[in-house]
């Protein structure tokens, strides 16, 4: 719309002059000179802080200049028509009007009203020259700044004309199946609080389309247009089967990964729980031991009290603490001497017990005696020759690694 004006002095004048011409009403083309004079003074006071003397001087100057200059009519006109959106001083127009009337009175030439319109542009131009020369520097800067900004183009008339040229009829008079387009009731942007919030944004888009789908379906059904694809209707799809397989595989993979991680977490939790169980067991054992000791002490005390007068107790019993043994056996003793009825530990334990001993004297248990030295049952000459040793066939056993490396290796 607005023309780009070169940032020269002339251009600045022209754009300045715009302001003056904007709100000029055609009915006040020829005001009375007196009234104009008054108005002029008023405006001068408010517009620029100039004295009346200056103003009058200015006026005479203008008139002179007007005769001399007959250029840039086209430019001025252009600018007048172009920028109507420039707001600004309400009094400028009065000033312009005044100038016009002044010049008309001075010049005796009978000029047509139509012509004078173009001339008033010139006059206004002159005004602005003076204004600028007097020094309204802030204005000057402002104008320069506005001319530098690249004007945006939005020619609505041309856009609508172009639209009209190609527009399809989507009014309610044509069947919906003709165009199949739905316009949402409310702008989608209203539903989006932040454009960076992916979930909310996509949800808003989907809601827009969902609403459209519902409306389209009712409209199409009303028109008797088939909407739903029958289940036995097969045709080529937009996304190939391979792609869909990939999608499916990915979904499955995701699901299984989730499941696996859940399982692993469960295992970890169990391990933690197992530790707790172990601690609890240890505590229970300690408690049992304490109870046993208490019981023994109690019994000893009891026996000391009625030692000699005991009924069934003999001297020997007393010496070997048979009662204590009995008492412990009746409770849950740890001593293992398994009778036939009692539950024996597992075979491995029994073997180990027999080999290394359980209870009793430990001293000299592993030392050889005559029989053991003579026994060569565990010896094999063949194995001796291969150099493998008596153990399993592992010829070389790797040294035990550090804990961290062992753990890493297990995974």
């Amino acid at each position: 719309m607005a023309k780009k004006t070169a940032p020269s002095a002339g251009a600045r004048i022209a754009s300045k002059e715009k302001k003056a011409t904007v709100k000029k009403s055609p009915k006040t083309q020829k005001p009375v000179e007196l009234a104009a004079e008054k108005l002029f003074e008023e405006t001068e006071d408010e517009w620029e802080d100039e004295s009346d003397e200056e103003a009058t001087k200015l006026k005479s100057k203008k008139v002179k200049a007007k005769k001399a200059k007959k250029v840039a009519v086209g430019l001025a006109e252009d600018d007048e028509s172009s920028d109507e959106s420039e707001g600004g001083h309400g009094f400028d127009l009065d000033l312009a009007r005044l100038d016009e009337s002044d010049s008309d009175s001075e010049m005796e030439d009978a000029e047509d009203k139509e012509e004078s319109e173009s001339e008033e542009d010139e006059e206004e131009e002159e005004i602005d020259i003076d204004d600028l020369s007097i020094g309204n520097s802030s204005d000057e800067e402002e104008i320069a700044a506005t001319t530098r900004v690249r004007e945006t183009i939005n020619n609505k008339d041309a856009l609508l004309a172009a639209l009209k040229r190609i527009q399809l009829d989507t009014s309610s008079s044509v069947p919906f199946a003709y165009h199949q387009s739905v316009i949402s009731a409310t702008p989608t942007a209203d539903a989006i609080t932040s454009i960076d919030d992916d979930l909310a944004r996509e949800l808003a888009f989907m809601n827009q389309s969902l609403e459209a789908a519902r409306r389209a379906r009712t409209l199409l059904r009303k028109e008797g247009v088939p909407f739903t694809r029958p289940t036995d209707y097969f045709a080529e799809t937009v996304r190939s089967d391979e792609t869909m397989d990939k999608v499916k595989a990915k979904l499955i993979e995701e699901a299984s990964a989730k499941k696996a991680s859940a399982e692993a977490r469960k295992q970890r939790d169990l391990k933690k729980f197992g530790k707790q169980v172990q601690v609890a067991k240890q505590q229970e054992r300690a408690k049992q031991k304490r109870e046993t000791l208490d019981k023994i002490n109690e019994l000893k005390k009891k026996r000391k009290e009625g030692a000699s007068s005991a009924l069934g107790a003999t001297e020997a019993d007393d010496i070997f603490d048979v009662a204590v043994e009995n008492e412990l056996k009746s409770g849950n003793s740890k001593k293992r001497s398994f009778s036939a009825g009692e539950h024996a530990p597992n075979a491995k334990r029994q073997k180990k017990d027999s080999k290394y001993g359980f209870g009793g004297k430990k001293k000299h248990l592993k030392s050889n005696d005559a029989n053991s030295s003579a026994d060569i049952g565990g010896f094999s000459a063949k194995r001796m020759k291969t150099g493998g040793g008596a153990g399993p066939k592992k010829a070389f056993k790797a040294p035990r690694l550090g804990k961290a490396r062992r753990k890493a290796g297990k995974k």
């Binding site: 690249r150 945006t152 183009i153 939005n154 020619n155 609505k156 041309a158 856009l159 609508l160 172009a162 639209l163 040229r165 190609i166 399809l168 989507t170 044509v174 069947p175 003709y178 165009h179 199949q180 387009s181 739905v182 316009i183 949402s184 409310t186 702008p187 989608t188 942007a189 454009i195 996509e202 808003a204 888009f205 989907m206 827009q208 389309s209 969902l210 609403e211 459209a212 789908a213 519902r214 389209a216 009712t218 199409l220 059904r221 009303k222 247009v225 088939p226 909407f227 739903t228 694809r229 029958p230 289940t231 045709a235 080529e236 799809t237 937009v238 996304r239 792609t243 869909m244 990939k246």
Partner: protein
Amino acid sequence: MASVYKALSKSKGDQPDVEKDGANGGVKRNKQRVLILSSRGVTYRHRHLLNDLAAMLPHGRKDVKFDSKSKMYQLNELAELYNCNNVMFFEARKGKDLYMWFSKVPNGPTVKMHAQNLHTMEELHFTGNCLKGTRPVLSFDAAFEQEAHLKVIKELFLHMFGVPQGARKSKPFIDHIMGFSFADGKIWVRNYEVREVEKAKGEGKGDEESTNKGKKPKMGDKDTDVSLVEIGPRFVLTPIVIQEGSFGGPIIYENKRFVSPNQVRSELRKAKAGRHNVRAEQKREGLGKRASLGLLKNGEKKKDGTGLDTRELFA
């Protein structure tokens, strides 16, 4: 004679791509054909997006890459050659930026848009799918009715993405919906599958199967509801310029808010360079300050050329 008649009858209708359809009693037929092609230098993603769009448009005609970037008007001739009245042109620049041109061929308008955030159907692992060539329902944001340039863009989308009724390879059902939303000064394009799901209250299932599917004119509305599953592709368009003609003519709209990706990149680079400059400046200033205070170490000290240095004087 026949050709004269044809020309005359054609010129009578003010809309060139809409013709009277004799069979349909006065309803104008929507005839659209879209030429879909790209420039040289597109990346695989751009190409896949183009393929996705072409797969969705049975009234589209895919052509080989167009060689020239300056002589865009040649596209008009090309479109005429293929009997197309729409052109969708993917212009790639610098092997990374994609600009999409949408044009009505004989006499405009043309919209140029910058495409961002492209995601093709394949790379989006959505579960939706639809038949090739079914007519989509086009869902437009209400914002498209509010401004003149958006109205034009909407009309172009309607012509290009909407499959015209009775198009050659189109299928008779509706199973997907294309959404065009306007947010943040950009147009967001989405594509969803329409799935019909049972509503909570069940009716007699047997008769539903036979009658409900598609053919039932009115009553089918009650028993099922629609749900959407996204198919893809996804992309975001920023309108840049609208020209009055087809690949030419005066510019009738220009988006002031659009910032070219080149500018964005250069700003980034400058910011990066700026960081270094600021640091270098600071270092220099610090050195100067220390020199003025006489705090410099021996290695850093400069000789002054006057010859009045104490060490020189009393050497």
